[in-house]
């Protein structure tokens, strides 16, 4: 989640339900097919890694240490003789889980803040907005580091940290969406029909304001995966010997000059996951914009 997305929203380039330039039956592009296939593969790897490798990602075999990629070890082996391919495949689970969970945490926090700001009385809105601006001033990763510095490292804290640092961006978008929808004629029509404020919020304002943000969250998953890996790389998230991409990068760093495969393959997977999630998110974004209301 970055500032540019919030700006994009204000500039009107994010999905808005009243855009009605419908292009029905837009074709699925080859890029979207590839992105979908990659995500499907990673999701499968996360759920049933045994489908792709029968090797134990933690089983050490010192005699086989530092083997370069070969038919028996596709991605080579690491300093303890563990199979890098097996570790990379098994690494999908923690990495994807952290990515999705962190985005979910960010969304929930953002919903609370965004709704408070969007429908709350002026002082509440003012407070929420100002706090959001302060958080915005700090780079997201720095925010995550501060949180970890206070709470301590670990896979759970790093997930929460990534979620917290994503929240201000979503919150700002949700707030402005709610503000926009609140003034819509159909909300007024609901008032005329005698609906209570709570009913109007639940039935009309929230669904119309928040739906586009969920699409945005897909984009956020890719970013969250990168951030979570970064934290693990810094030794603040998953800790070796856990098979997690960021942790694998960190462990392989010392041997980068004579065993490139230790870092290159997990790195490629991080890029693949983030790129696939992002391009699919973009595609969804474009679709919802076209379908409009």
């Amino acid at each position: 989640m970055s500032l540019t997305d919030a700006e994009a929203l204000q500039a009107g380039t994010l999905p808005r339900r009243h855009d009605v330039r419908a292009r029905p039956g837009a074709r699925v592009t080859p890029g979207e097919v590839v992105a979908g296939a990659v995500l499907l593969f990673l999701a499968l790897a996360a759920i049933v890694p045994e489908l792709f490798t029968s090797l134990d990602p933690l089983a050490i075999s010192p005699s086989e240490a530092f083997q370069s990629p070969s038919p028996s070890h596709w991605f080579g082996t690491d300093e303890s003789g563990r199979d890098v391919f097996a570790r990379t495949i098994h690494g999908a689970r923690p990495s994807l889980t952290i990515g999705v969970a962190a985005t979910a945490i960010g969304m929930v926090l953002a919903l609370i803040l965004g709704v408070l700001g969007g429908v709350g009385p002026k002082p509440v809105d003012y407070t929420v907005t100002r706090v959001g601006e302060v958080l915005f001033a700090l780079p997201g990763l720095l925010l995550a580091l501060v949180f970890i510095a206070i709470v301590g490292p670990g896979i759970v804290t790093s997930t929460i940290a990534v979620g917290i640092s994503a929240a201000p961006g979503y919150a700002r978008i949700i707030r402005s969406q709610i503000r926009a929808v609140r003034g819509a004629p159909y909300v007024e029509a609901a008032v005329v029909l005698g609906r209570s404020p709570a009913a109007i919020l639940g039935r009309h304002i929230l669904p119309n304001a928040v739906a586009p943000v969920f699409v945005l969250a897909t984009l956020g998953v890719g970013q969250a995966i990168v951030w979570a890996s970064s934290l693990s790389y810094l030794g603040l998230g998953a800790v070796p010997p856990a098979a997690e991409w960021g942790a694998m990068l960190s462990a392989g760093r010392s041997y980068i000059s004579n065993a490139w495969w230790l870092t290159v393959f997990p790195g490629i997977f991080i890029v693949l996951a983030a790129a696939a999630a992002t391009s699919l998110g973009r595609a969804m974004q474009a679709r919802t914009r076209q379908v409009g209301r």
């Binding site: 339900r17 009243h18 009605v20 819509a184 004629p185 159909y186 007024e188 029509a189 609901a190 008032v191 005329v192 029909l193 005698g194 609906r195 209570s196 009913a199 039935r203 009309h204 669904p207 119309n208 739906a211 409009g292 209301r293």
Partner: protein, 544 residues
């Protein structure tokens, strides 16, 4: 007759792929000489705008235009290179569009906009051009031309913008002026002035191709009329003859649809009156016609303007709504009509004055208490599409209204949804559709069905037919009339269109600057207006 300015024979315009094409204009032929006015009349989608645009090579990027003859000012337009077309547009043809706000660059003063065509297509010096711009503004009777030339389009009213646009269209004294719905967005008094201006241009020798859906506008100014339907000219002839003695049934339909030509209660559309069993049970308990259901006394509402004195949007307005009757509220844009509607609907609180709904106080009551009584008041808006939650289908919208907001997907209300759809003359098949995918008339019917769902005593209709074609407008007005007779509903009917108000109303209030300047029996007010302003309005309204 001299050499015609425009000569069109067998014009055909098609869009889409050849095997699956969409023919917008088919076999259209006409001629137009200097000082003549031809009107293309028809409903939206009938191909009138595409016809006019084909004359200047603007039919559209993917249009395939063919014709035996298509010439403007003696030059063939088909296969004319883009360069030639550009000079044709500048020098030989002026184009005036409906919406002057989007046709003028909002960031440039109108003087510079008008200057553009002079700069591009003439060899005048800067000083001469400046002189000419002021001349043109004077010619379109723009007040204070010197000052207006420096203003941007956003600073001008709709009428003045339209004048500026006409000034830029006639800057090079083109032999042909194409006016596409030039007065549709304007108030009647302004419309009358713009029509006078166009008539003057025609008298000075400009050929005028007028595109309009409004037969009354056409009657005033056109020599000949071509009635278009689905891309074809179904009737063509002298204006007097076509409107006075229409030969084609479609022309007759269009003429019949004009509300002002009919007394209250007469039908406008060919549709038979609705005979439905809708709420027969409820009818027995309905109050008889003429019971007072709503009363307002001395309503006033001010709005704070940015950095200025407050605007008195509504000032000392009183009204009486009776069951089974219609109060028409008529006035030009900015007269405060919509603010009155919002006060009645309880969307704004009046600064002073009192309101009574069904004998119980309606203003100054806490919202919590008011909410339960809101079902007595329904509303129909001009922009219906945006008054529907975009996520909902027709069925969900109606179920929401019927169930009092408790549900949008309840099978228990399926029957009642069917009754409502039937009552407003919609097929059952629209249930699952979203309003976005319905036509304007169908949307308005859905809006009426939703307003009726809670069985209201009063329905506030704010410009309910302004966005519709005349024949669709006729159907919707007939429907509103039928429902009133059947259900004894009281309407507060707001419109800027005198004909529509006259046709719909029993009593009428004329608003100006937030005040009601005249009130009385509708027939009397329109037949012998007492107030000066009402007289102006009635005089300005074009008649068939």
């Amino acid at each position: 007759m001299s050499e015609p300015i425009v000569s069109v024979r067998n014009l055909r315009v098609a869009f889409g792929r050849p095997q699956n094409e969409n023919v917008a204009v088919d076999g259209v032929s006409f001629e137009l000489a200097a000082g003549e006015c031809l009107a293309l009349v028809g409903e939206s989608g009938s191909g009138k705008s595409v016809t006019a645009r084909s004359l200047i090579g603007l039919a559209g990027e993917h249009a395939r235009v063919t014709a035996d003859v298509l010439s403007v000012a003696g030059r063939p337009v088909l296969r004319m290179p883009e360069r030639g077309l550009r000079s044709l547009r500048g020098k030989s043809v002026g184009l005036v569009l409906q919406d002057a706000l989007v046709s003028l660059d909002p960031l440039r003063p109108i003087g510079r906009e008008i200057d553009d065509s002079l700069r591009l297509h003439s060899s005048l010096s800067a000083a001469e051009r400046r002189e000419r711009v002021l001349e043109l503004l004077a010619a379109v009777r723009m007040p204070e031309p010197e000052r207006r030339a420096t203003q941007r389009s956003g600073e001008l009213s709709g009428g003045l913008r339209q004048r500026a646009l006409i000034a830029s269209a006639i800057a090079l004294d083109p032999p042909l002026l194409i006016a596409d719905e030039p007065t549709t967005a304007l108030d009647v008094t302004i419309q009358a002035q713009i029509l006078d201006l166009l008539a003057e241009l025609r008298a000075s020798g400009t050929a005028l191709l007028l595109i309009s859906h409004d037969l009354a506008v056409v009657r005033d100014i056109a020599d000949r009329v071509a009635v278009m339907q689905k891309g074809r000219v179904v009737e063509y002839g002298e204006t007097e003859r076509v409107l006075g003695d229409p030969q084609h049934p479609y022309t007759q339909t269009l003429i019949d649809a004009v509300p002002a030509a009919h007394r209250r209660g007469e039908r406008l559309s060919a549709e038979p009156p609705r005979v439905s069993t809708f709420e027969r049970a409820a009818r027995g308990t309905d109050s008889p016609v003429g019971t007072v259901v709503f009363e307002a006394e001395g309503l006033a509402k001010q709005f704070a303007l940015r950095g200025g004195s407050p605007l008195r949007a509504v000032d000392d307005v009183s009204m009486l709504l009776e069951s089974g009757r219609t109060l028409g509220l008529v006035g030009e844009s900015g007269s405060g009509k919509t603010t009155v509607a919002r006060l009645v609907l309880g969307l704004e609180r009046p600064d002073s004055g009192s309101m009574t709904l069904l004998g119980v106080r309606w203003d100054g009551v806490p919202e919590r208490e008011r909410r339960g009584r809101r079902s007595a008041l329904g509303a129909i808006y001009q922009d219906t599409l945006s008054s529907f939650d975009p996520r909902f289908t027709v069925e969900q919208l109606l179920t929401d209204a019927i169930s009092g907001g408790r549900s949008v997907r309840s099978a228990a209300h399926r029957g009642r949804v069917g009754e409502l759809l039937d009552a407003v003359g919609l097929p059952d098949a629209v249930r699952g559709r979203r309003p976005l995918h319905l036509s304007g008339g169908q949307r308005q019917r859905v809006a009426i069905a939703r307003a009726l769902a809670p069985s209201p005593k009063i329905v506030v209709c704010d410009e309910p037919v302004s966005a519709l074609d005349v024949s669709v407008q006729a159907q919707v007005l007939d429907l509103l009339g039928d429902l009133q007779r059947e259900l004894g509903i009281s309407y507060l009917f707001i419109s800027h269109d005198l004909g529509v108000v006259q046709h719909m109303s029993d009593t009428v209030s004329v608003m100006r600057h937030g005040r009601i300047v005249e009130h009385g029996d509708a027939a009397e007010v329109f037949a012998s207006p007492q107030h000066e302003y009402t007289r102006q309005l009635v005089d300005a309204a074009p008649r068939l």
